[in-house]
Every structure is written in C-alpha cells, then in structure tokens.
Amino acid sequence: MSVTAPPEHLDAHGRAESPPERPPARARSRAARSPRRRRTLEVLLAYGLLLPSLLVFAVFVFYPLVRQIYLSFFLTPPFPGEPKHYAGLSQIQQVLTSHDFLNSLWVTVLFVLYTVPAGLVLGLLLAVLAHQQLRGIRFFRTVFSSTVATSVAVASVIFFTLLNPQIGLFSYWFGRTGQLSVLDDPRLALLAVSVVTVWQNLGLAFIVMSAGLQAVPDDLLEASRVDGAGPWTRLRHVILPMLSPTLFFAIVVGSILSLEAFGQIDILTSGGPLQHTNVLVYAIYDQVFNQNNQGRAAVMTVALFLITLVFTLIQIRLLERRVTYER
C-alpha cells in the first residue's frame, strides 16, 4: 500500500481520539512484547525455585534408581573389592524365574490381600460406629485413631510379647501356651504378621474413612431414614456410593503401604519360617545385608519398583479425576 489513509480513530487534524476499547498502537506493541519476556523470566524463576528439591531428589531418588537399574545387569561377588561382571539380561531372567523370587512375590500378594481388605472393612466399621451422635463418642474416636501414634516397631514388640509361647496373653487365650509360637508356624506366621499390620494401620484407615464419612451430606442420610432405609440399605445405597473416592484412595494407599512393609517382618519373623513371610522388601534386604548379593537385590528392587509404580499411577489418575458425584 503506497498511500496510507489516516486510521479511523484519527480526526481531521491527525489527533488520536483513541476510543477506549482500542489502546494507542505503540502501547499495544509494548504490551505484546513484555508478557512474553515476563513469561520467560517466570519460567526461569520457577526452575530456580525447584532446583533445591530437584537436587535432593536427584541425589536420594533418581541416582539410586538409575544405579539399581544399572546394577541389575551385573553379577556382584559377595566379597568387597572384587570386580562386577556384566551379565546382561541373564541375571534378570534368572532372578525373575527363581523359586525364591516367585515365592516372595506370592507372599507379598498374599500379604496385601490379607491386610488391605481387612483394614478397609475394619476402618470403615469403626468410622461408621464413631460417626453416631452418642455421648462420649469423642473418647472412642481418640481410641480408634490412636494407633497412628504408635510406630511399626512398637506395634511389633507389643504383639511379639502377646504371642510369646511362654508368657503371651494371646497364646494363653488360644490355648497355645508352651506350644510352637504362632510366628514360627508356617501356616500362621503370615496371618499373624498381617494382623499386626492391620492393627497398626487401623488408626490411619479409621481417620481416612471418618473423613470420607464427614463428606456424606447429613440430609442424604436423613432422607434415607425417612424413606424407610434400614442401617444396611443406608450403608449399601447411600454411604458407600458417596464414599467410593475414599475407598479407592484407601485401597491404593493401603496396597502401597503393604508392599513396602518391612519393620514388622524384620522384628517378628525375619522372613521365616521357611520363607513364609519373606515378602519382597524383606527378600531384598536379605540379599543385600545377609547374602551380600547386590546384583540380585537390584533386580528384585526394580521389580518391586515397577509394581509400586503401577499402584502409584492408578492413584494419580484417581486423584486427578476423583470419582465424585455432583449434587
């Protein structure tokens, strides 16, 4: 265009009338440039602020993770100072198909199955009980949630004493005084460890379930009472559907907790009797600290990592689009 007509918003003398919805041209172009620069600065700032935690993660998480994956390709001799041998996939294949690994995997699955559903149901039960408007219910709420204040070690020691075949109260109740300890009985050891775990996690389960119950609107519960629903119908058709996000959350988090369980097994059974409580975490520990076989341990670690990762991904998905119902 050779001849430029005066822009519409200039009057006959070339002065800008500048209608309010259109800022003057120069201001506009500056405004267009500066947000981009500001964005760049913001991004740099963001990374700067993230740097400390990135460093911590790198040192304590990312490096060990990469190192484990790397190690799982090497045969590591049990004596310090000896060179590692690259073994490629052969060690991985050998470990993953070994009887010990498969046993540990199976024990781990059993352990999750024993602990997660039971913890869920008991936690829900206590939460429903504590949700009643009864005199002195606060006391019970405190009691029900009290196990969060104990550590796995404390819980294990308590139960170790209770199950002691000579002096244990439980042994006495179940008429097993003087007999083989439950913890040494291949049929019962895993169950016993599971009971301790459920007990120890009960406080947390109770709190999570209680929080879920709080979110069930009172008028829904009241409506169902007027609509003739008994306690069971109310639980089944009103409370549980509203609680489903909480239940999913509890299942996933509970599973991860059980996959990572170590302390109670170490204290109560050390993986025995006859490997019957030798969950993956304990087997890994055993490989590193008793067998001095870091290569095998690395393979199992990576396997456990992948299993836990699946649960974590499920959890992230759930948190992103929580299974909630609009009212």
Binding site: D219, L220, E222, R225, D227, G230, P241, R327
Partner: protein
C-alpha cells in the same frame, strides 16, 4: 387419617431452646404453613414430626398414634428437603422408587407407580438421568415425586422452593397447591417466604424464637395479627407502626405520636383503657393510609416508588420515622418533597401494647 398433632412440644439443643412449648394440630388433608424468620425453629418442628429429632418434652401424634420414640421410617411421613437430598449416584427412577423398595413393594407395582408419578410431575423424560444431569426444577420435582410415590399420611416440606429462580418458584408454587388439593393429603410446609405462606396454606402458623405466635387462615393473620411481631412480619411493604402515649382530652383518648395525635373509636378507647398499656403501638397497613387534608399526621414525601400497578409513597414524619402509603397507579401521587397529611379509617387501625407486643381489642 393424616392428622398431625403436637402437644406442648419443647426441643432443646444444650443451651439453645429451638422449639418452646408448641401446641399445634394439623387436620387431615390440611395444608399448613409454618412461617417465620430464619432460625425461629421451623425446621426443627418439621424434623420432630419426621422423627429426625426427638422432643425434649411433649408428645407428637401422627394419625391416631403417639409417635414419640418411633423411628422415622415407621412414621409413614415423607419429607422434601430444601437441598432435595437426592441420591447422587441413582437415576431419577431409582431415586423415586427407593422408598418403595424399602417397603418391599413388588417390582411391577413399583414400576407402575413410578411411571404414574413421573407422568403427574412431567418427569418421564428425565427418569433415566442422574441428579447432576437435571435442572434445578427437575431435581425439585424428583424430590417431590420421591415423596408422593409412597402415598404417606403426611408430607413434610422444608423450603422446597427456595433453590428455584423467582419465575419457576411462582409456577411451582401453584402446581404444588393443585397437587395437594388433588392428592388430598396433609402437608406441613416450612417457609420464610410470606408470599408462599399466604398463598399456599389453608392455615398459617407464624413462629418466632421457637414459639408459635399465631395460627390462622391467611386472611385472619393479615387482618387480625395477634401481636406486633406478626403484624410486622406479614405484609409487604410492612405495616406502619407508630408508637405513642395514650392521652386523654375531654374524656376522649387519643394516641399521641411524633406525627400528631391519632384519634380512636369509642370501643378502641375502652380497649386501651382496659389493657392498661402505658405505650401503645398503632399499626396501619400501607393500603389503608390515605393522603387526607384533614388527616391527623403531618409528614413530607421522601421517595415515590413507582411499581407500575401501584405507587409506594414513602413519607417521613417530623422525627424522621418512615410511613409508607400504597396508592393505586390511577390515583394521582404527590411529588417528592411535598408536605402531606395522612389519615386512616379508625377501624383499620391495629392497636398493640408497645411493651408486651400483644394486640389490644379485636
């Protein structure tokens, strides 16, 4: 028989007395409105009838039996909540049939009754939708359907229209009235909206502070408010109330207010004398005040609110107190700033003891 009766019912929550010594009888097939400001205990009364709360004192009857201590589900009442309280994961159909399922109604019968109610309330199209997929009005009707489908002795409704927009509310109000007349069931209806109170109920019970102030037909309550609270609460714009001393002149009693002395009829004078009230509150509805050269009150016009079909002339007395005059649109309104005189027919005056609030005379 859908009679509901409360006898000397009190409900306390710790220190708070939500309902205080209430006696109320709702007749079979009656539409009774519990009307009162927020926090006066309306919902509590309803919840006591439903069995969601148990009374601290007194007895509650539904039909012919005393239901104190009877579980809500055994009371054969249905409740519509302000929030509708629909089960979010259930479709409209399953919401509506939920009470029937709990009664173990056979499946075919259940389906038939749901269809029937859905048709009555024009819900057939949305039967397979969940509450989140419905409009506010549809949700409200599903809540209603869930109550109707059981054919209970009585319906309890707690502000069921308050979540609807103004237009839908008016429409639904009419539909609810029709529905109640058609089903011929007892309804106890809680609202703080006086228009709903006046238009829907056979009778209205006005509550304040946990106490029933007056029970009566809407016109009775409007024309003969039992006390200052009812007088002020019912009516829009509200009743004008001027307080003054009863003063005698030549043996004739008048109420001396800041705007001037208000003369009384002979029976009114008698009543005031007999009541022994030291301060008298004189109430006049805005539509009963006239702009009158010879009127006893001097005032100036502050604002004219033109509503199209009528004008509200807001006047101020000398001491700044406000008096509203309702004028039909055809009547020439004064201009803002004009000095006017106000008067009313003596029989239109409501007299109250200003200290106790109680009505003086008839």
């Amino acid at each position: 028989m859908g009679r509901v009766a409360l006898t000397r019912v009190t409900k306390r929550f710790g220190e708070v007395t939500a309902v205080s010594d209430i006696t109320l009888e709702v007749e079979d097939q009656e539409f009774l409105v519990l009307l009162g400001p927020s926090g006066c205990g309306k919902s509590t009364v309803l919840r006591l009838i439903a069995g969601l709360e148990s009374p601290t004192d007194g007895s509650i009857e539904i039909g012919d039996r005393v239901v104190n201590g009877v579980e809500p589900k055994e009371r054969d009442v249905a409740m519509v909540f302000q929030s509708y309280a629909l089960y979010p994961q259930m479709t409209a159909r399953r919401n509506i049939e939920f009470p029937l399922k709990n009664q173990r109604t056979p499946k075919l019968e259940r389906a038939r009754r749901v269809e029937e109610v859905a048709e009555t309330l024009e819900l057939t199209e949305v039967l397979d939708r969940r509450p989140a997929q419905m409009s506010g009005g549809q949700r409200q009707r599903v809540a209603l359907a869930r109550a109707i489908v059981r054919r209970p002795e009585a319906f309890l409704m707690d502000e069921p229209l308050s979540n609807l927009d103004a237009k839908l509310r008016t429409q639904t109000r009419t539909e609810l009235i029709e529905l109640q007349r058609r089903l011929a069931t007892t309804v106890v209806y809680v609202t703080h909206d006086q228009v709903e109170g006046m238009t829907m109920g056979h009778r209205v019970a006005v509550m304040e502070n946990g106490v029933i102030q007056q029970v009566g037909a809407p016109t009775e309550i409007y024309d003969h408010p039992a006390n200052l609270f009812v007088a002020g609460f019912i009516g829009n714009p509200p009743m004008n109330v001027l307080t003054g001393l009863p003063t005698s002149e030549d043996g004739r009693l008048a109420i001396e207010t800041p705007g001037g002395g208000i003369p009384l009829t002979a029976p009114q004078q008698d009543a005031v004398r007999r009541s022994g009230a030291t301060q008298v509150a004189v109430g006049v509805r805005p539509e009963h005040i006239r702009l009158d050269e010879d009127g006893p009150l001097r005032a100036s016009v502050a604002v004219i609110e033109a509503l199209g079909y009528e004008n509200h002339v807001v006047c101020r007395l000398e001491d700044g107190q406000q008096v509203i005059v309702r004028l039909r649109a055809e009547v020439a309104a004064p201009r803002e700033g004009d000095k006017v005189h106000l008067g009313a027919e003596p029989r239109r005056l409501h007299l109250f003891d200003a200290t106790t609030g109680a009505r003086i005379g008839t």
